[in-house]
Amino acid sequence: MKRALERLYNGIIKENPTFVLMLGMCPTLATTTSLMNGIGMGLTTTLVLVLSNVVIAALRNLIPNGVRVPAYIVIVATMVTIVQFLLEAYLPSINDALGIYIPLIVVNCIILGRAESYASKNPVIPSLFDGLGMGLGFTVALSLLGAFRELLGAGTVLGYRIIPENFSISIFVLAPGAFFVLACLVAAQNKIRAAKGKKPQEGCNGDCGGCTSRCGNPKEEVEA
């Protein structure tokens, strides 16, 4: 139980995939034009992340090291397609809202990243919570980004008007706005971390457990 909570905390705060690991930037920038889109993309990714983490953790002793990446991609693509079929058949309203984002999840590097760095080395239950934590962290980040972009760019939140239309700055719902908002949010969370006495993370932070690069010399790089 403690390990499960630690995984959730790790995914949402400590190693938030968007704000700290900087993974999955393409869907982050592309789909957060509104709060609803951000939430939708986040939750769908969470579902796929949990399913693929569980399957990969269950098969971790079976998958040979040499062909692990193709094996992960096959598993992730299968999970995404299954989720898409199920949504199309039984939850059409969610499918209508998210339809275009679902195929994008196959190429989301968070999923491959978690498979490689966590699910392939840990048992099923912690992997499930790792997927859930990472997914929720992604959802929180996308929702924040979507909320700011929708508020500034369209003057609404979840479709409710907050700022009069004449004062909205439409660049925020266009591609450059995504970079502006993301940069400001990352800067803000680094500031908060710095205030708490934690160094803002740049590249390698010496945490080999959660790293995929396998460089083998953690401390040197951080000090250099």
Partner: protein, 210 residues
Amino acid sequence: MPKFLKDALILCAITISSGLLLGLIYEVTKAPRAEQEIRKQQEACEAVLESADTYTELDYDAAAAASYIEGAGITPSEVTVGSVMEGKDAAGMTVGYVITVTPSEGYGGDIEFTVGILNDGTVSGVSILSIGETPGLGMKADTADFLDQFANIKTKKFVHTKTGKGEPTEELAEIDAISGATITTKAMVKGVNAALLCFDYLTGKEDSAE
């Protein structure tokens, strides 16, 4: 057994079982997915042609319709006309048609939408099926403010205007362009015009057959 062969066999086994699983799920969800597709089409029809009760797909000569529309100045590379649904009331009488058109000259490419046209040629509604325009600009095409401009107007041709629309006539009706999204507006107007021409073709052909 050499290592590479073992690796390849395991990967192959994973791929085959994934394929089988997908095939299974595909078959299990096939019927409900087809139902949803029909329901969606039905809803799209209802949105633009309320007065009909049932909708059946009309079998028409698409190539001839396309050349008729091209003759009137809209080429297939600008707008393609897709399926045509015939709307019938409870008594089985045709009340109008729902025509799916896809103009390809939107700012973000294709825009697919349905146009409902009553028997007398009045546009009863326009509803967008898929659109990928710029959020905040061209995406405003998918709002009631814009789409309702087409509804309940009987005319031969729509044109867009940036200076405030006047009263529609039998020959011409003006549509207020979306500000900052003239290309989207043009594509939408062209699509509706193509649907009107397709309607002309369909009804014209019936007249000559009688």
